[in-house]
Each structure stands twice: as C-alpha cells, then as structure tokens.
Symmetry: C2
Subunit: 266 residues, 2 copies
C-alpha cells in the first residue's frame, strides 16, 4: 500500500489509516512455521526463494516472494534449526520472523497460516479450516495482578465480515503455546481463553503485529482433535500432508478474495 | 571489540575468533527483564537513557548506555507493555530485544541478568547468586523425535573458569519457561534439564545469542525457593527489591572482572 500523503504520527493512527484506507492492499506477509505447509503455496503462487536474503546471514529464515493477482506476496518460513535440522516452530521463531519481516518488508496485512489442534467439544473436525477471531496464550501463567493479563496476551484478529460471508470457514478463538501436547494447566487456560483451536505460533505473531499495528488474520487447519482418543503427535503426523493441502487451498481462497480490495472491505 | 582484519566467513568462525581474540572486550550488552532489577545498575554505571532510540519507535524497549571502566555498556530493558503497563517479561520479549540489540549494537559479550527461582534440594537459598553453566526450556514439549530436542533448546553459556575462581558465586544449570508458577509437567522437564535455577528469559536470550554466535553469560539471583512452602508469586514479590540489590552487586563484580580482559581470559 502506498503511504498516505500525511504520514501518521503514531502506530495506532497508522493502523487506523490502514483500516480506513481506500487504497487496495498491495503487500501481504504470509508466515508459515513448517516447510510441509509452506511449499505447496510457494508452488501455487509461483514464488521465488530469495537469492540475497533480506534477513541477517546467520538466521535460517527463508523468504519466498512474487506477484500474484497484483499482490506482492512475501511468504516467510522460519527455516530449519541450524543445529537440529527440524522446522523452527513455536513462539520465539514466530515472533522473531514477524518482527524482522515487518521491519524489512512493511506489509499491509499479515496472514499467519498453519495446521493446528482443535476441540471436538467445540464442534471441530479433522480438516476443518478456521478463521480466528482472537488469539491468546495458554502457557504463560503469571499469577500476579495485571501480569496475569500480560501472560494471556489477548489480541484481536482483524475483523473480516465480508471474507466470512464469502468463504465457508468456521470461526473460533485460538490459543497458543509452545508444547504440542496439553497439560492439565494448559487445558484449564485454553478453556479460560474459550478457544476452539490450539497452535504454537498464532498469539506470538499477533503480539508483534499488534506492536506495529499491522492488521493480521489467522487461517488454521485442523490436523488433530485435542479432546479425542488418539495421541496428538501421532494424529498430527498422520494428517499433516493432507490437511496442509486443505490449508493451502484455504489460503489461496483468502488471497483471491483479498486481491483488489482495501483492508476495510475484508 | 575491533573486528579482526580478516573478517571470518561464518558465524562459528566469528565466535571462534571472538573467544580466541587477544583484543580486550569493549562492548557489553546487558539484558534485564524488569525495571526494578535494571535501575540500580543504570545508576551504578551512570548510564543515560537513549534520546533517539536505536529501536523502531513502536516498541517499548529502553536502552541505557555509557562507558564504565573502558567498557561500552548497553543495558536493555524490554520496557512496559504498552497496553498493560507491566514489565515485558518472558521469552518473546527477551528474544526480540536480544535480536534487535545484536543487530543494532554488535556486542562482544551478552550478560543476561535477573532474579529467578531455585531449588533448595539442589542447595539454593534466597539471595544466592548463580552463574549459569547451560540453559534449556521446560515448557516446550514436542514429543516427536528431534523436535523434542529442539523444544528443550539446550545451549551452553560461555565457559568462564577464571571468573568462577575469582568470584564466589554458585554454579548451576538454568531452566526457562513463560510461567512464574510450575506445573507437574514443568517440574518433570526441569528435573530432566538437571536445573538448579528457573527463570523466564535465559534460554530465549541463549537461543538468539547462539544464532549469532555472540558469547553469553547468565547471572541469576534467587528470589524464591521453588520447592519450598511459600507460594512463588508471594515470595518473589517479597524478595524482589532486596535480591535485586544482590543481583546488581554481582553484575558489578562481573563487569569489574571483565574490564580489560579478552573473552578467553574470563
């Protein structure tokens, strides 16, 4: 998005100007934690991997970029851990790449996409795609007044009523933590967060996006039923590839819908 | 530290060149999560608050800087959460400020200082100061092979045998998590990490420092006994001010020892 002629003085004014801007969205930052989730979208949007990284040479973060339907797409995958070779999942990598990408790329809109767990008691099934209404953490318990709220870290996703009308996704609250499994304390916090969907990155992306007042939406596809019979890790690995395909289809629908629209039209 | 004439090509070579450099340490980055812990050191070292921040204007992070005993000291406090007004504690803020400070300030050495919980079963008492030998996480359970190790995120602190000999601190392993309290699962992971000390930032600072191969040491002063009778939050708040004084004295001793020395002399 071209900056308005009068540059707003505060981040909040900037968000306000973004949301009410009549200029169509031009630059989208997609953050995806796992390579298996990211690569089909890279292919779909015909993105190229950076030859000369916008990030410091020491980090494993990978940027794929290109133009799709008049949108500048930057898809960031935090890459493989340099010592262990596994995807750099979780809140620390997610917050770092969100921070560095906002600094380097100045996106109009962030989309955090990924697979997630969800609760059948809240109506979720394997393969469902959720648009998230709000994000919070479930593993940051700080039982001191006000610090408790900081730990929960509740952030609203961008409101997208027209996107909801157009696309047949479920809507639910997201709770984020750095464990794939769920302890009793995690479960109690997830219930307190009234969350349907559970992931390992969303609230961290939301924290940094909110800091810079960049509108953010969260698209999460369900690989495992948290309150079901099967162990999470097993169910997650079993469904990762097929659900990633559903996720990628959903993200494509979202991007197709966004193309040509302003933030306030979403 | 002045860069060696031949600039090393990789981060590891750089760490190697740092550790074996015969040039004295010139720039130290101190990362402290809470204002109560930070301000006495700001006064002690007569540091000034940045007038023009080296960080983006949207973040609450505060840099205090100055020269103390020929050392360029940058003390970074992540500041107050802009919505809630409490210190930005925990791993996300710690990793973000470590990342942004390394990028902006290129320190020779990082010192993460702070108050912490500790285990009396491992010989700790209130007011003890620990030099940390290694850091790991206790709240990132990912029960998939290799991802489990990524979750634990074990990183070594810089080895400082001479500092140990000179100063009468205890030595122990540190375990980091985003909760002030401790669930059964946290406790099991802390035991598996063989940790004596428990904090909310150390392993996150270690993760980013390791990424950029900046040597890091961790100085932690005990505010609460995790395996004791009193509730952690109550004991923590009761001891925060007095133990912060012990912490600041310890950090001063460490900085005094560092002054004029190379990394490999620590």
């Amino acid at each position: 998005m071209v900056l308005p002629k009068e540059i707003p003085s505060s981040a909040e004014e900037y968000l306000d100007s973004q949301i009410h801007s009549k200029l169509p969205i031009s630059s989208i930052l997609i953050i995806i934690a796992m390579q298996t989730e990211a690569l089909p979208l890279v292919e779909k949007f015909q993105l190229s991997e950076d030859q000369k990284s916008v990030f410091p040479k020491e980090v494993p973060w990978v940027r794929y970029h290109g133009i799709y339907r008049n949108l500048q797409i930057n898809l960031i995958w935090p890459g493989k851990d340099s010592a262990l070779g596994v995807d750099s999942v979780g809140t620390i990598s997610a917050s770092l790449v969100t921070y560095a990408s906002i600094q380097a790329l100045h996106p109009d809109l962030i989309i955090n996409a990924g697979t997630a767990g969800a609760f059948k008691a809240k109506g979720a099934s394997i393969g469902d795609v959720f648009l998230v209404s709000e994000c919070a953490f479930h593993d940051r318990r700080i039982p001191i007044p006000v610090f408790d709220l900081y730990g929960v870290g509740l952030k609203q996703a961008l409101k997208t009523p027209n996107l909801h009308k157009e696309l047949d996704f479920k809507v639910g609250k997201l709770s984020t933590g750095d464990s794939l499994d769920m302890s009793m304390q995690d479960e109690a916090s997830i219930l307190a967060n009234d969350a349907t969907v559970k992931d390992m990155e969303g609230a961290a992306v939301a924290y940094v996006a909110d800091m810079f007042k960049v509108p953010a939406i969260f698209v999460k596809a369900v690989t495992d039923i948290v309150d079901g019979e099967k162990p999470t890790a097993e169910e997650f690995l079993q469904n990762l590839a097929t659900v990633s395909a559903a996720l990628d289809q959903a993200v494509t629908q979202v991007i197709d819908f966004i193309s040509g629209k302003c933030i306030h039209e979403l």
